[in-house]
Symmetry: C2
Subunit: 351 residues, 2 copies
Amino acid sequence: MKRKVTLKQIAKELDVSISTVSKALRNSIEISEDTRQKVQAFAKLYNYRPNNIALSLKNRKTKTIGIIIPEIVHHFFSKVITGIELVANKRGYNVIVGLSNESFDKEVINMQMLANGSIDGFILSIAKETLQQQDYHHFTETINQGMPIVMFDRVADNIPCDKVIVDDIKGAKKAVEKLIHNGCKNIAIITTRDYVSVGKLRTQGYLEALEEHKIDPKGSLILKIEDKLLSDEDLDKLEKEIELLFKSNKVVDGIFAVNELYAVTAIKVARKLGLEIPKSLQVVSFTDGVLSKHSTPSLTTVSQHGQEIGEKAAQLLIDRLELDDEEYNEEEQYETVVIETELIERESTKS
Amino acid sequence: MKRKVTLKQIAKELDVSISTVSKALRNSIEISEDTRQKVQAFAKLYNYRPNNIALSLKNRKTKTIGIIIPEIVHHFFSKVITGIELVANKRGYNVIVGLSNESFDKEVINMQMLANGSIDGFILSIAKETLQQQDYHHFTETINQGMPIVMFDRVADNIPCDKVIVDDIKGAKKAVEKLIHNGCKNIAIITTRDYVSVGKLRTQGYLEALEEHKIDPKGSLILKIEDKLLSDEDLDKLEKEIELLFKSNKVVDGIFAVNELYAVTAIKVARKLGLEIPKSLQVVSFTDGVLSKHSTPSLTTVSQHGQEIGEKAAQLLIDRLELDDEEYNEEEQYETVVIETELIERESTKS
DNA sequence: TTACAAAGCGAAAACGTTTTCGTGTTAAAA
DNA sequence: TTTTAACACGAAAACGTTTTCGCTTTGTAA
């Protein structure tokens, strides 16, 4: 087992100085053709690679991006990571991932672990618990220490940083309008409690769509689910609640679900009650994940373009990281980019 | 914006030496109670945190684990990451993720990016392309440089490193045996081409199960899919091939699919052909992902316990990283841990 | 008073780079 | 022969830590 070779070792071996070796490897004209060749040959032979950590220390940048997300076993978030990784790598950056597991404490700890020099900037989506508590001091502190943050999807409005968001309202509107145009008269929504910002926004989009089409919203058609991590018991409860929705509203002919799981569960329950999809009940979901695409019937859904969100977030962050200090002063503005949603029509709605 | 404060700055401000500050913060008895208090108060006020990069350089360890996986938008792999992250964090390590995207080149590049000091060791699952080319020089080189690797799921047998694998053969056997016990007489398998090791092993398990129950395998019941990244066209082709399977084998009453997608697609096709699940056709799949759980009918499936695999892999790696040098010599053995599979019975088989 | 130990602190090296500046040698120009 | 310029290389600082060793000062024992 040969240990990693360093400049110092090469220098010693070749009986030159460390500086000479360094320069020779970077093809400096200061160094004679002879020595250059000699050094480079030796370096190649011993497979020399500059030590990243030493470089980071010297340059005071790590070329690494910290990602903090609530969970990774989730189609949307993994898509976002794919996007981040794509442009990060293309621009010479690495990606280090922390999971908050929707917990405030883990979010804080993770940020602290990374903020001490390990990374140049953050890309993150806020944990539910943090959203509830509305305690954002760890974000402002990080930013105050000169480390830029880009938030995506679940963002906090009054934090000074770049943001990449989905137009949840508009996306939800598109979904509901699709149902309206397809002739649905009694459209129910299955959503989450309001503290999860996206649930709130999607509900708002639902209401706006109804309003614009002069449909009076009915409270009994709005089902708000307590959104814990979904254990199997919770799934049972979810089914019960949806069943109740159908039973107390016999006329329901359209469903807008704010995520795939609610949608497939609704379909499952509906079928059990003898409803045919999409003939007597049409369903639109949010998030174009594996369930939408491959369950039967496949789901008409609002795609959020997770990968694109990741790409954009990475681009924003790296752009800011690579701002020269001169440009820095003027550029105290932060951007909020809205990634358009797209309605993907499949079998759960009439065409 | 206050920049990050360093020992040097604190020292200057308090008019003591850097050494004193460092010692004071680490509660060294060399330092008087007075100075200690003073320094610690000041450090707290300015929110001092030691720079990780400097520590890494000094200690020659980064407390960071590099993960390289083929893709992240995949239930199994994200579960594994969750597991790795869990124990890594618990033991004070960070996790940095690289995606090979099933490409040999990206795998190599990613490893090079990380192997130069950024991390202490690797946890990885080999890209399909690498598996095909059987070019493993980047693994051996990394190991030769003293950086340990733990491989999981898709491993290369003759590389000297710890491994965490699924007993694919046994898992597949369990699945097929379930079908046999449930009365299936003509069990087909939908698998991948052989160079993907897991496809091969699962096929082997299928054959063994048949053999042990004195059933002659029929070539026409073995469908091998060219396993590219699945675009929508490929999905069409997949359906066509499965349809052909059913049409040329009218008697098929059981299907073992080596992944969820093949299973749901098979079910979809079967239904179109008028087959009832699980009455006239029973299906078992591999990988307990979101499709198995939430599609209709839900799938009986072989769970690989991805999270557990991740946890075990992380444990193996960190244990090795933290071996004292004394213990090191004796311990040149590598471990291969087999994580047992579990058959989870759901609606796609008779109970 | 002398000697010496303990207490409290600082200087410096080390981790592995890159880069600035200086220095010695050689060859060409005056 | 002397001056100068080009060339080739080395020393040292810097990034932010930790740690070893040595130095001063004080208090205590001889």
